[in-house]
Structures are given as C-alpha cells and as structure tokens.
C-alpha cells in the first residue's frame, strides 16, 4: 500500500534509524494485542503516563508524536485537555507536518478554553496571514473548530480580509469560518454582512455554495434580515446545476417564505419544476419539504399539496426503508396542514404499522388518525393490538421488543383514531368496547400506569355519549374490571372514571348486591395495606373520592332500583347489611389524610347514619321502606340526566357584572347585611375544589384542572353536594325562617322560566340541580348570567344526533358560547368549524414555533452553544437590540451592549409585531370569536356537531 509520497520517504529512511512513527504504531499494536479489557486498560494507563513524560521533551518530533498518540487515546475516552499547552507548542512549529498534527489535536481537544486560546490568538493570526495558502487553510479550519467569543473578536478582521483572497480555496474556508465567528461574536455580522452577501456572486462555485450555506444557517435564526436577498438567491436557484447548492437554497427559502408569504408565487412554480426535472431523491425530498416547512400550503392551493403527495408516493411505497421513513415523515407534516388528502394512502400507511423498523412504525402510527375510516379502522386496530400482545413476540424471533413508551403511544393512537370526530369511524360499538377492555387488560398486564386515566376517560365518554349500550357496557365489562385485582392494582388511574360511570348508571347494574360487596372489599384492602406508591401519586385518594359517592349510588340503586319489589323483612336485612358495610368503610376513610376523601366520607357518613337509625326504628313487619331510603336517597342522585358537555364550556359563562365578589357579605358577627348575597357567599366555600371562594372563574379553573376534562364537574361527584348545603342552610338560617321562605319563593318564581332549572316539584332545596356549573351561578345571580346565555340555548336538553342508520345514537357534546357578556355564536355557527378546527389549531402552533426562532434576532449565539459557562454566556450575550429591519449596518452603536435575558426575548416575541402571518391568523381567530378559544385547548374534545 503506497499511501503518499511521504510514506515512501519515511520507509526509505527507516534503515538509517529515523523511525518517526514507530511509537504510534507501537501504541496501536499494543492496544490491539491486549485483548482482555483489564489488560487493555492497564496498557492504556501506562501509555498515558508515558505520554505525560514524553510530551515534556524538547524534541519536537517526539512531542508531535506524543500529541498524535494522545489524539488516538482520546478516542478511547481519555481526556487530553491537560496537554493543551503542548498542543499549542506543536501548532506553532514551523514544520507543516507538525503544525498539522497540532491543529488536528487542537480541533479534538480545545473546548472554548479561555487561557489556551488567549495564548493561541497571536499564533492563529500569524498563520492566517501566512504566505502559504495551505497554512492559511489549516488555520481557518482550526479557528472554526476552536473559536470562542474573545478569539472571534480578535480574528474577525483577519478573516474578513480573507474573503477577498486570491485563492478560492481560502475564500471558501473564510466564508464558512465566518459563520462560526458570527455565532460567537454577533457584532461581527454588522460589519461584514454586506461583504458576506457579495460572495453570493463569487466567480467560484464553491465559494458561492459556502456563502449560501452560511446565509441559510443564519436565516434559520433571523430570516427577516435576508428577505432582501431573495431575488439574488432566486437567480442562483434558476442558474445553478449543483444539487448541493439547490438543496441549501431550498432550505434557505423555506426560512424566508415563512415570514414573507409573497415569495410563494415565485417559488412554488420553480420548486415544482425542479421536482419534475430532477432524478435525485434527496432533492425531490428537499423540494417537498421546502413547500411544507415554508408554509406554502394552504386552502388555496390544494393542487400543490396533491402534487407533493403524489411525488412522495415513490418514497413511502419504496422498499428502501430510508425513503419510506422520510416519505412518511413528510406526509406527517402535510397531514397537519391538509389532513384529508392523506386518506388515499391509507393502505400503505396501515401496512407500515408492522414495519420492522420502529421509527417507520412510529411515523405510520402518527398518520393513522388521518387515514382511518369506517372501513379500515377495525383492521388497523386489530393489527396494532396484535402487536401489543405478548405472545406475538414469541413466535417470530425477528420481532422487535416494544418498549413501554411505544406501547403507550400505540394505545393512545388507537384511542385517537377510534374517538376521532365523535366516533365517526366506529360502526360497531360492541367492538369498540371490547377493544377498550382489551386495552385495559393489556395495559394492566404491562403495568402501563400512565395510560390508565386516558382509558378510564374513554370508557366514561362512551357511556355518557351512547345511551343505548350503557347497560351492556356496565354489566359485561365495567363490573368485571373494577373487581379485577390486576387492573385495580396496576392500572388504578382508570378507576376514578370507571367508578364514576358505574355510580352514575348504577340503576342499570344487574347485581348491585354482590358488586357492592366486592367493591368495598377490594378497596378496603388497599386502604389497610396503605401502599406507599399509591400514597405518593395520590391516585388512590383520587379513586376513593369517586368511590365513596359511587358506593352510595349503588346502594341507592340496590334499595330503590327495582320499582315493583315489595319491601319486607328480608329486604330490610339485606339493605341493612350493605348499609353497615358502607358505614364501616366510610368510618375508615373518614380519617384519611386526604382532605377530599375525608370530606366525602364524613358527609355521606352522617347521612347514612341517619338512614340506619331510620331503618332500625322501622318495625320488622313494616311494608314501607323509610322515607329517607325511598325518597331522599334517590333524590340526591336521580333528578337530572347528565349530558356530555364540551370542555371549557363553563368558562363561557360570564361572571355577572353586578356580582361584587370582594364585598364582605357575611360578617363574622352573624348579621349579614344583604341576605341574598350572604346565601351565595356561604355556599361557595362548600365547593370542594374551589381554592378561593371569592372568584367564580378561579374556582372554575380549579374544577377543570382537577376533574376529568370532558365532564368537568360531574366527574368529581360534586353533584352530591346539594344535601350538604341545605343542611348548613338549615342551621344558620333557622332564626330567620320567615325571611328565608320569602326569598325562596322569590327565587322559585324566577326560576320558573329559567331553562336551566328543573321545573321543580315542591322540594327545591333538596333536589338541587346536578348541573353544578349552573349551580355555580345559581340562585341569586342566575338571572344575570342566564340572560347572557339564553340566546344560545344549547344547554338543557341534549341534542341527539343520528350519525348513521346502523349506529347507535351518539350524543353530541353540549357547547355554549358567550364571551365577556356577548354571545358570539351558536351551535349552528359552530357546525361549520369543527372539521377544520383541528388543523387550525396546529397551524397556529406552528406559527408560534417559527416566531420563536425568528425572534432570536441577532442573538446568533442563542441555542446553538448550550455548553457555555454562564460567564461566557454573559460575555457573548451582547444582543443587538433595535436592529432596523433590513439594514444592520446602519446601527453601529457598539457602545450600547445589552445583555438580554431569555425571558425578555420571549415576552418580546409575544408582542411580535413584525410577523405578518401571525397577525393574519390572529384576526382570523378573532373573527370566529371564542369558539376557537374554547376549542384550542381541547384537542381531544373537538366537538362534532353535524
């Protein structure tokens, strides 16, 4: 093997005893000879010790060789920064051979090291100005790999001078090195921006290519400074034949187009032309990527999107996994903008769900939601569930083992595609229920804690939204799940929702007796064992909070569920037995450390004790159950059918203007000045979840944050609190019965015409509405707030909708619009929006993201060099503020160095005034009013009203 002329010379010199590189060879051979890890590490340590000695030698050849050896050892993970000064010595050698080794070592070892670079500055300057272009080239490469802010400042002028060097080789390197200088020392950009841009017209292609590269990188950070260059860049795009340059240019244009949409009309035809003519896959990919990332797609140019997808087809249908991956990746980006044009590709995408490569599978999984339809949903889901099953990995040895995160994301995607647009794709709900329960069992098996809550929520949603299958779900599925020990212990997160559902529809339970028996038993064990893991996450307490009302609800169902039963002694004994069990259970939970659990337990405990007393007083042969059992207990739960309500609807209810929440309304001395307000004020603190009692909107936030997202309050069982209030009311207001009665009649009168109230029987006080959010505003102030919402009377009776003939009725979520007192839309207005609303949300997000990068303005050192010490960061944190839009050179106010903190930049971003696109989108949103506002936050809960 003849490597190069040098090698020949060396080999000829060897007989004369000049064995220049023997020691490096020896080192490498030695390492290779010591195969055993222990022997090897011993050998390596010995080698390092030798190097420490040798590096001090005055013989430059030996020193150089040692440095080279250290470079080799560095690859074995040995730090060589202790030899930095020796490296510097070698770098300053007059022999190119040694200098080259020095620079190589510097590139490997120097990491923004202040002291050594300070010493190196002069040497680097000298080499930069060397007469030998090779040395200049090495110095430029070296500088760009080791540069720090101080060095950058010192060598800027020298490097800028190099931009006009006679040799293109040097000019090219200087341009690229400048980029690193800008990163470290943004101030340099002011002085050299124009000269850099001039290099776009350099006669040498490689210099031009380098300039495009640098501008492309700079434009990622602050695109607006480069918009003016667009015509020149476009000209280059039209003339150059170099694919590398074209790809760079496309990257650059995708940054520019984001802030200057007017470029699109010129760019899109050009890009499509390139797609047509080129044969290079990487270029086609870049073209499509440029269109997508540059946000050139919108509703006006569907045809372009279609062309993109058509041209992507060879990618994701290819056999080369790399092409498949990038194809699906880009498809995913398009899907967020134009979801519907993806659906044609469903076959390929579903096929990729079982691709041997996990990255490809993941991309396909992300696309699933967009491609499933009624026809292929079941197929896709069964493929995925099959992947989840443990036995699948056993029978094919080639199968990849899925990690837990991936399993969770598979489950999430299955659920996403199933519930997509209010179950549009599901034709057979029995199938969906079996999928859900399979998923719960699989998750419990694998111990996938985090997916628990989501599964619970989906179960609950199905129950609430599809009345016809409630009974089947509860008896065939849920009742078993809550008694399944594996599920309870491994997937406790799903329990609150499932328990709530069971409680809410407890009248449908076939065998409440044994369920009640088992439930209190299962969870009792949990409390007694007091598992620390549960205590920490609070999951157990969350479950108990729901379990307590659920138990009482089931008891109610058990005692009153069967309308034509005869009350007799046996019945009484059975009910008594259950009652005693529940009281026992609550006695235990009433001393819980958790406030919510304690509160729940005690409030029901007191009632149940009364009930028990009433039962005991009852003579054994009575044919009538006690009133408390037959009347009062059901009235706590059964008065109001709960309907699905869209998330955040509660926020749309405005706080009435006349409600002064700060006014003191119930002075401590017990005499309240305004009885009406006093009533309200007293009620508010009873809300378990309300942190502050003074601000309704605050407490609403509390609710949504705490309880399940869809049903808001109901899920927490707050619906039961009416009883408590009234007990309290009774107590304080005893002395004032007459006045109270008057108020009550007044209130009833008012509520008569109120659609939000039960056309109440006689006992208004006991049967307080279950719709707690109405309750929030209720009684005294309901008038004001309802006036505002009545124009959109969507609350009240739910609107049921036939989705398909064969399908069961799926209840739509109730939505209600009202923002700051004015009604901005109605349900009918909304129906036009939901289809696209999801997309809108995503684009909006994108824009924000771009904004963030665009905002880095001139702070080019921003995110790229995260490793700086704070001190360094401070030093390079000179941020040029107030740079005029397109002319940076104008502002030479170098004295004014402002250290801008990250935070400030962010806040500046928010006010983002220069971003035209953002503004445009924003007004769009405003036009649609609060509707979007409500929806934006709830991706999953996007409402479908047809």
């Amino acid at each position: 093997m003849s490597l190069n002329p040098g090698e020949d010379v060396k080999s000829r010199l060897r007989p004369f005893g000049i064995v220049f590189e023997k020691s490096l060879r020896d080192l490498i051979k030695g390492i290779r000879a010591h195969k055993e890890p222990e022997a090897q590490s011993e050998f390596l340590l010995k080698a390092i010790t030798e190097c420490r000695q040798e590096v001090k030698s005055s013989d430059m050849d030996l020193k150089t060789m040692t440095i080279l050896k250290l470079c080799y050892l560095e690859m074995y993970g040995f730090d060589m920064s202790w030899a930095n000064f020796n490296v510097l010595e070698v770098m300053s050698s007059s022999k190119f051979q040694q200098k080259r080794v020095g620079y190589l070592a510097a590139g490997q070892a120097f990491r923004n090291e202040e002291d050594v670079l300070m010493l190196a500055t002069n040497l680097l300057k000298k080499d930069l100005n060397s007469s030998s272009s090779v040395e200049v080239g090495v110095a430029l490469s070296g500088i760009s790999s080791v540069v720090n802010p101080t060095l950058a400042r010192d060598v800027t002028d020298d490097i800028i001078k190099m931009l006009n060097h006679s040799k293109p080789y040097i000019r090219k390197k200087a341009v690229l090195a400048l980029y690193k200088i800008f990163l470290q020392y943004p101030e340099a950009l002011r002085t050299s921006f124009d000269r850099l841009c001039d290099k776009l017209d350099d006669e040498d292609d490689s210099v031009m290519a380098a300039t495009v590269t640098v501008i492309c990188e700079l434009a990622k950070k602050a695109p607006k400074n480069f918009v003016n260059l667009a015509p020149r860049l476009h000209a280059i795009l039209s003339t150059t034949k170099n694919n590398w340059v074209i790809i760079r240019l496309l990257k650059l244009f995708s940054s520019l187009a984001k802030i200057e949409p007017r470029l699109n009309s010129r760019l899109i035809p050009k890009i499509l032309e390139i797609v047509e003519t080129t044969g290079a896959m990487s270029l086609i990919y870049e073209c499509i990527n440029c269109i997508v990332v540059g946000e050139m797609l919108d509703d006006s140019n569907l045809d372009v999107a279609q062309i993109c997808v058509d041209n992507l087809k060879p990618f994701f249908t290819a056999t080369d996994p790399n092409l498949q991956y990038v194809g699906l990746l880009t498809l995913n980006k398009i899907a967020t903008i134009q979801p519907h044009i993806i659906s044609e590709q469903s076959k390929v995408i579903i096929g990729c769900l079982v691709h041997p490569d996990l990255s490809i599978r993941k991309q396909a999984l992300d696309l699933l939601e967009y491609v499933v339809s009624e026809d292929n949903l079941e197929q896709a889901v069964s493929i995925l569930i099959n992947e989840l099953l443990p036995n699948n990995t056993a029978n094919s040895s080639n199968e990849i083992v899925l990690d837990d995160d991936f399993k969770v994301s598979i489950i999430n995607r299955i659920l996403d595609s199933c519930v997509f647009r209010n179950y549009t794709n599901i034709s057979d709900f029995d199938w969906f229920i079996s999928v859900l329960s399979d998923l719960i069992k699989i998750s419990a098996e694998y111990n996938l804690h985090e997916i628990g809550p989501r599964l619970g929520i989906e179960f609950r949603n199905v129950l609430v939204k599809i009345p016809s299958i409630r009974s089947a779900i509860i008896n065939d599925c849920l009742v078993d799940l809550v008694q399944d020990e594996l599920v309870v212990s491994n997937l406790l997160g799903c329990m609150p929702e499932i328990l709530w559902a069971i409680g809410e529809y407890s009248t449908m339970i076939n065998d409440p007796n044994s369920l009640l028996f088992n439930l209190s038993d299962t969870f009792q064990n949990g409390i007694v064992s007091g598992d620390d893991a549960f205590e920490e996450t609070g999951e157990y307490d969350k479950t108990l909070v729901i379990l307590i009302p659920t138990l009482v609800k089931i008891l109610n169902a058990y005692a009153n569920g069967n309308s034509n039963y005869m009350w007799n002694y046996q019945e009484k004994q059975k009910v008594m037995a259950q009652l005693t069990r529940i009281i026992d259970f609550l006695n235990k939970t009433s001393v819980s450390k958790n406030f919510n659990v304690q509160e729940r337990s005690i409030e029901f405990l007191e009632f149940l004790k009364l009930l028990k007393e009433a039962m005991e007083e009852l003579s054994d042969d009575s044919l009538q159950s006690p009133l408390l059992l037959s009347q009062v207990l059901p009235s706590l739960f059964n008065s109001w059918e709960l309907n699905p309500i869209a998330k955040d609807v509660q926020k749309a209810i405005a706080v009435p203007d006349e409600l002064d929440l700060d006014a003191e309304i119930y002075p401590v001395d017990g005499s309240y000045s305004d009885p009406e307000d006093g009533y309200l004020k007293y009620r508010n603190p009873e809300y378990y979840n309300a942190a502050s009692d003074s601000d309704i909107s605050d407490s609403e936030n509390e609710f949504t944050a705490y309880s399940n997202p869809l049903l808001g309050i109901q899920g927490n069982g707050v619906d039961n609190d009416g009883m408590y209030h009234d007990d309290v009311d009774e107590l304080i207001m005893e002395d004032d019965t007459e006045a109270r009665e008057k108020r009550r009649l007044k209130r009833l009168e008012r509520q008569k015409n109120d659609p939000f109230y039960l056309k109440s029987e006689d006992e208004v006080n006991v049967s307080v509405s279950k719709d707690s959010f109405i309750e929030m505003d209720s009684d005294n102030d309901i008038k004001a707030s309802t006036k505002k919402i009545t124009s959109s009377k969507t609350v009240g009776k739910s609107k049921t909708k036939k989705v398909k003939k064969a399908k069961p009725v799926v209840l739509a979520e109730e939505v209600l619009f009202s923002g700051s007192g004015s009604v901005t839309g109605s349900a009918n207005d909304l129906s036009a929006i939901p289809e696209g609303s999801k997309t809108k949300k995503k684009t909006k997000k994108n824009i924000l993201k771009i904004d963030a990068s665009g905002l880095e303005n001139f702070d080019l050192n921003g995110s790229l060099e995260p490793e700086f010490s704070p001190q360094l960061e401070k030093e390079i944190g000179y941020v040029v503020e107030d740079v005029p839009d397109n002319t940076i050179t104008n502002n030479n106010d170098q004295g004014e160095l402002v250290v801008v903190s990250k935070k400030k930049k962010k806040s500046k971003k928010k006010s983002g005034d220069e971003d035209g696109t953002k503004k445009k989108k924003k007004t769009k949103t405003d036009a649609e009013g609060n509707v979007i506002e409500v929806k934006r936050k709830s991706k999953k809960k996007v409402v479908k009203i047809q």
Binding site: N4, G137, A209, E217, V245, D357
Partner: protein, 152 residues
C-alpha cells in the same frame, strides 16, 4: 449542520470522532455509549435514520465500520447519507481500497480528509476531486518538510 461524526467498529470501538459542538469528555463518552448500544443492535432491514433525543442520527454501515452522524431534525437526512457516502468514497481513493485497519493505523489521514470535506459541520467542498487534491497538496508539503529535515 452536522453535530458530530463517529466511526464505530462492529465491536463498538471508536475509530474516529469529530465533534462540531463543544461537549465535555463525559458527555462524549455518554453519547458514544448510548449510540453504540442503539446502532449495534440495528438490523439490516431497518432504516438508517434514528430519532435520538432532539435530533437525528444518520448512520450507515460499510464493511465492519459504522459511520454515524448527528444532525438537527430539519436537516435533509438523505443528503447526510450522501455526505457519508462521499466521505467513504474519498477515503477509499486516498488509502486505496480502504479497510478498517488503514483507518486505525493512519487515523490522522482520515481526519485530514474529513477536514477538507466538512468544515465545522457543513460540507465545504462539493467537488469530489477537489477534496483529494487538497489533501494531496498538504501531504506533499509534509514530505517536503521531512526531506528538508533529512537534508539539514
């Protein structure tokens, strides 16, 4: 912008490591350890692109060596594969039918070629011939040095 280039042998030994972002030795070791675990377990039918933290790993196997690069998410994956291919081609020409042992014993040449192809993470020369010409010039200069030292 390539963040780093690593050459790993099938046994997980580092044959070349070029970092274009400043990292401490500890971080480097960690990255190498993690990537070794990930990449050595990859199978033939899998793609050469791996999502790794907030970036992408593009790797390709040539004989017994894995060429591994890390790029930010927005970079062109296919182009990066092209760069790796280019690098291998040029080493092949420079060494003459390159093999792992060549790179082990003459690792500095591998670095020199890389330095002429990529400067600070970006491709500086798209012409195949130019890169090798530059390396050759430098080598000549080296041997001239050596001759001088022998003569004097």
């Amino acid at each position: 912008m390539i963040k780093y280039i690593l050459l790993l042998s099938r046994q997980g030994k580092v044959r070349l490591a070029k970092w274009y972002i400043p990292l401490s030795q500890k971080e480097k070791t960690k990255i190498i350890r993690e990537l070794t675990a990930i990449i050595l377990s990859r199978r033939a039918k899998m793609c050469n692109i791996i999502e790794y933290k907030d970036s992408k790993i593009i790797y390709r196997r040539y004989a017994s060596l894995f060429f591994i690069t890390n790029i930010p998410n927005e970079d062109n994956e296919l182009l990066t594969l092209e760069i790796v291919q280019r690098y291998v081609e040029q080493m092949d020409k420079a060494y003459g039918n390159v093999c792992e042992l060549d790179i082990i014993f003459n690792f500095q040449t591998a670095y020199h070629i890389l330095d002429e192809l990529i400067l600070d993470g970006v491709v500086q020369e798209t012409s195949k011939r130019e890169v090798l010409r530059r390396v050759a010039t430098q080598n000549q200069l080296e041997s001239a040095d050596e001759l001088n030292s022998v003569m004097t």
